[in-house]
Structures are given as C-alpha cells and as structure tokens.
C-alpha cells in the first residue's frame, strides 16, 4: 500500500431522502474507509439536513440511514464540517445536528463530537487544502 496519505473531502449538498445522493455519498465514505486516507466530510446547502437528528422515514417508506452517520468516527472519518451560513439559512443550529464521536486508534484519545460548524472563509480554505473533492 502507498505511504502517501491524501486528503479526501466528500462534499454533500443535497437533502437526505429526496434523491439518492446522500446515501450514495455515505456508502462511498464507508467503503473508502478501508483505504487509510485522511477523510473529511463537508455539508453545505441542503446537505446540512443530512445531519439533522431525530429523523423518521416511516411515512415515505425509505430506509432511515440517519443513525448511520453516528458510526462515521468508527470508520475513521476524522473531520466533519458544516457550513454556518447554510445552517442559519434553514433556521438550524448545531443543537439540531447529531453528535459523532471519534476515538484515535493509536492514542485511544476520545473526542465526543467531531461535527464542527465553520464559516464561509474556512469552507473555502478547507476545500483548497483537500487533494480530492468528491461532490454529491
């Protein structure tokens, strides 16, 4: 395996259940976790709805994959960013979002919540820093 670690960013822009994009993105992240890269997820626009807690899909007959986001830390996703403006435009705050825990395999250091709300300038900076951006 290559020693070079690339920064992968998965950019999520769509609401979770209206289209297949959110689920496809999540599946790629879970499968890609086996490749030992530095992975981050960015949620902007309607994509911020993907992290809203307490969703119930029974009425639309779709599998509820919202609880699955909470396992991302186990799949070694280290950074999860949410665009502050997108959140505010939809009347949401960080309290409306799920918390995702992360434990460092080597140091056993535990972080309670890796979901971080960032401003527009930081979003640009983070996208710039990424080697690869997958847009969903």
């Amino acid at each position: 395996m290559s020693e070079v670690v690339k920064k992968f960013m998965y950019l999520n822009r769509k609401a979770p259940y209206g289209t297949i994009y959110a689920w496809e993105s999540l599946e790629v992240v879970l499968i890609g976790a086996a490749f030992d890269q530095e992975v981050s997820l960015m949620f902007v626009d309607d994509g911020v709805y993907q992290l809203v807690k307490g969703q119930d899909t029974a009425g639309i007959g779709m599998k509820n994959f919202s609880p699955t986001y909470r396992t991302l830390g186990d799949y070694e996703v280290r950074y999860i960013y949410v665009d502050a403006d997108s959140l505010a435009a939809r009347g949401l705050t960080q309290d409306d979002l799920v918390a995702i825990a992360y434990e460092d395999m080597d140091t056993e250091e535990e972080i309670e919540n890796i979901v971080e709300v960032v401003d527009a300038a930081r979003v640009v900076e983070l996208m710039d820093e990424a080697d690869v951006v997958f847009s969903f």
Binding site: E27, L30, I31, G32, A33, A34, K63, N64, F65, S66, P67, T68, R70, T71, D74, Y75, M105
Partner: protein
Amino acid sequence: MPIVVDGKTFETDEEGYLSNINDWVPGVAGVMAKEDDLELTEEHWDIINFLREYYEEYQIAPAVRVLTKAVGKKLGKDKGNSKYLYGLFPYGPAKQACRYAGLPKPTGCV
C-alpha cells in the same frame, strides 16, 4: 436459495443473506450454521446478538475492522481481535456472522 426453518420458508438473496431483515428468528442462524457444518456456541451467539444490536442502533452491518474494534470495546479485548473472530466464523466474521444474524452484507467489506 430460500431456507426453511421449522417448516417456514425464508427468502434469501443470491449470496444467502436474508431478503428481509425483519423476518429473522434465531432458528435462521441455526439452519445456516448447519449448512456450513458449524455448531453455534454461546460465543457465536454473543457476536450474532452484538451485530443485531449494532444494526438496530446504526442501521448498518459494520465492516470487519469496525466490528473487531467494537467487539473489543463491548465484550473485552481478548475477543476484539481477528484471530478470535475468525476462529468462530471461518468464512469471515462480518460476512458470515451478519448472514446468520439476518443482516445485509456489510457495507465497506472489501
């Protein structure tokens, strides 16, 4: 190929995973194990039950390395390693145990 448990037929996909997770009864694991010439012990059931709880909470079947880590946390370090888990489930702890537990094939199992 569908499997029959206590006279009741359960649909499966082409890889032998249950088509409908909600159909599962413990007897399913027993019949599947028998087809693999495996006798289920309490240790096997610990893992099967653990997987069902994991799915209930997170709605996915964990990949093998995630399973290994999570088992270590829940059932103790002596069980959270590949050697122990492959000893119980020689066809791969995630794939085989998930099948017995009625879950879909694990996401991210490569």
